[in-house]
Subunit: 89 residues, 2 copies
């Protein structure tokens, strides 16, 4: 699938995409698909990782001290992507 | 969308469905969509909730002492569902 044109590509997307894919279909075992995920859930998950309420070593390393605008941009990006019909197990 | 016929409906699905929907499109604010999510991720998330490595009050209350077979059935069910094209925010 192609990326949604309605939402600007976040500058920080590259690091996320290395596991979750640029359009939110995961490319790494253990990583979840994010395409079309609910915006409220993605925002909360990113905040929880940033603030240590949710802990996964790779996410702790990847997210760092992310600002509110960047966090919002990433959540909006992935929520706006269309999930692919068949997901790898 | 209709439920996938390839995977048997788990007996315990009702409680999950009250937030995540029967086909994995969330019906409750704050709950993530699970339709088409990667099977390995869903299995790990359920184990993490069951064993306390991941904590969310509603999931702690909902999951209880789930057995391996039930856990696997739920992960397989939601992973096998087709995500709807447009997800509520």
């Amino acid at each position: 699938q192609t990326a949604s044109p309605a939402v600007a590509k976040p500058s920080r997307l590259g690091l996320c995409a290395s596991c979750h894919g640029e359009t939110g279909m995961a490319v790494m075992p253990g990583a979840p698909n994010l395409a079309g995920q609910r915006l409220d859930y993605l925002r909360q998950a990113l905040k929880d990782y940033r603030d240590g309420r949710r802990d996964a070593p790779v996410m702790r390393a990847a997210i760092g001290p992310i600002g509110a605008a960047e966090l919002d941009a990433l959540a909006r990006w992935y929520s706006a992507q269309a999930p692919a019909a068949a997901s790898a197990p």
